[in-house]
């Protein structure tokens, strides 16, 4: 990895589009912008390598991808979990590609290229990325067009037309206004870990299954939430209760086994 020494890395997180500029032969300046997601980063790396999207040099790209992730971590930039999920996917594909060919030949049907699913996703994603660019251009043009100023018949209304989300937002605000008042009046009694564990155990044994998000949602304070979280970790560690997630991004449930 001798390129490590020659790479000079500077980051500009305010530029929307990342790019590498070669200032001299042995000095590469990498400017990492805000990537819109792991697919965005991946596309960028593929273009960087001038690689064919239908024949991605997966080992090389995976290395580059992981290098980026490590850099982000070193710089203490919080990484969305989705970036890590993609890292795992890349490593998986890479290891499949390394399997000896004979294994495939033995199989009756021809093995599918392990990269195929990823390529399909990249191609699909890229279409929407281009569409986003088109929308951006449209809105820029549209910002040069102005509508008429206020006239008498507009009636000076301070009113707004509302959507269902306005209803919910407003309702939330009222509730939080309310909650603050209550909390000023009563000092909430703190729940101990033992109590939390007891009630959690009772719930799981009664219902067999408990939606984790819903359970956390019942907590009123940050401290309670932390206690609840610790109780979940404890119960999974010590008892026959499992944490399950049905689909990759699905909800997490606690289940008695």
């Amino acid at each position: 990895m001798e390129q490590h020494q020659t790479e000079q890395l500077t980051f500009d997180f305010f530029t929307e589009t990342p790019h590498i500029t070669a200032e001299s032969r042995d000095e590469i300046k990498l400017e990492l912008g805000k990537f819109a997601g792991p697919l965005d980063l991946l596309l960028y790396l593929i273009k960087q390598e001038k690689a064919n999207i239908f024949d991605i040099p997966i080992a090389k790209i995976t290395d580059e991808y992981l290098k980026y992730i490590r850099l982000m971590k070193k710089l203490d930039i919080s990484l969305a979990g989705d970036f890590l999920v993609m890292a795992a996917t890349l490593i998986e594909i890479k290891s499949k590609m390394l399997l000896p060919r004979e294994i495939f030949e033995e199989a009756e049907e021809e093995m599918e290229d392990p990269r195929k699913e990823l390529v399909d996703r990249l191609l699909e994603y890229e279409k929407f990325k281009s569409a986003a660019q088109m929308l951006y251009e449209r809105s820029t043009v549209e910002q040069a067009v102005f509508r008429r100023g206020k006239i008498e018949t507009d009636e000076n209304n301070t009113e707004t037309s509302a959507t269902v989300f306005d209803l919910l937002t407003v309702f939330q605000k009222i509730l939080s206004r309310h909650k603050e008042e209550i909390q000023m009046e009563i000092e909430r009694e703190e729940v101990s870990l033992a109590d939390m564990l007891k009630s959690l155990r009772k719930r799981i044994y009664e219902t067999k299954e408990l939606n984790l998000l819903a359970f956390f949602g019942e907590m009123h304070t940050r401290r309670e939430l932390v206690t609840a979280f610790m109780a979940v970790l404890e119960i999974v560690r010590t008892e026959s209760v499992k944490l399950l997630q049905n689909t990759t991004f699905g909800e997490i449930v606690l289940r008695k086994v």
Partner: protein, 185 residues
């Protein structure tokens, strides 16, 4: 990044007229010769001549609009001949618009229905009588019978019109706190 000092082409008169027309159009109030002269960096005489020409154009066209000098400035407005049609149109405009007080009250009723006036007061912390009247007038809420408690207060709930105006098939389509929590993490 590169601050270019561009040599501006002098504008011709028809360009000046067009810009003046656009500025009068976007202004919230009658716009004065003085402020036009400032924005365009042209002298008063040029602006006055341009406006005179523009006014003449509008007069000759005899369309739906006129350019008028009013309160020391210039303004576009509709011609008086068409006030009947304009009034008719303004009346047909749907008003899905609500004040914040009405919106707050509506949100409480939507999420807590059936709910009484004292209960709404409790939640909002302010009297909601006039907001409730507005909502009844707009047919967004309806009375839902009395609550069997002291004073038997009237209960309110959302109406069918409410569903239509907010594009909901039924109340289960109201976004829930959970939908929202997904979005504000």
């Amino acid at each position: 990044m590169t601050e270019e000092i561009e040599e501006k082409q002098p504008r011709n008169i028809s360009e000046i007229i067009s810009i003046i027309e656009a500025l009068i159009f976007v202004a919230d109030e009658p716009i004065t010769i003085k402020s036009l002269a400032e924005v365009l960096e042209e002298d008063r005489e040029t602006i006055e001549a341009a406006i005179e020409e523009l006014r003449g154009e509008y007069e000759q066209r005899a369309g739906g609009l006129q350019l008028r000098e009013i309160a020391g400035g210039w303004q576009l407005s509709t011609r008086t001949e068409y006030h009947e049609e304009i009034r008719a149109f303004l009346k047909t405009r749907p008003s899905a618009k609500l004040s914040l007080a009405a919106l707050e009250t509506l949100s409480v009723i939507a999420y807590k229905q059936p709910v009484t006036v004292p209960e709404i007061l409790e939640i909002r912390g302010v009297q909601s009588a006039s907001a409730i009247k507005t909502l009844l007038d707009k047919r967004l809420i309806v009375a839902r019978g009395r609550k069997e408690t002291v004073g038997r207060p009237m209960q309110y709930g959302t109406s069918k019109d409410f569903l239509i105006q907010f594009g909901l098939k039924d109340l289960s389509e109201l976004p829930s706190i959970e939908d929202f929590e997904d979005l504000i993490q």
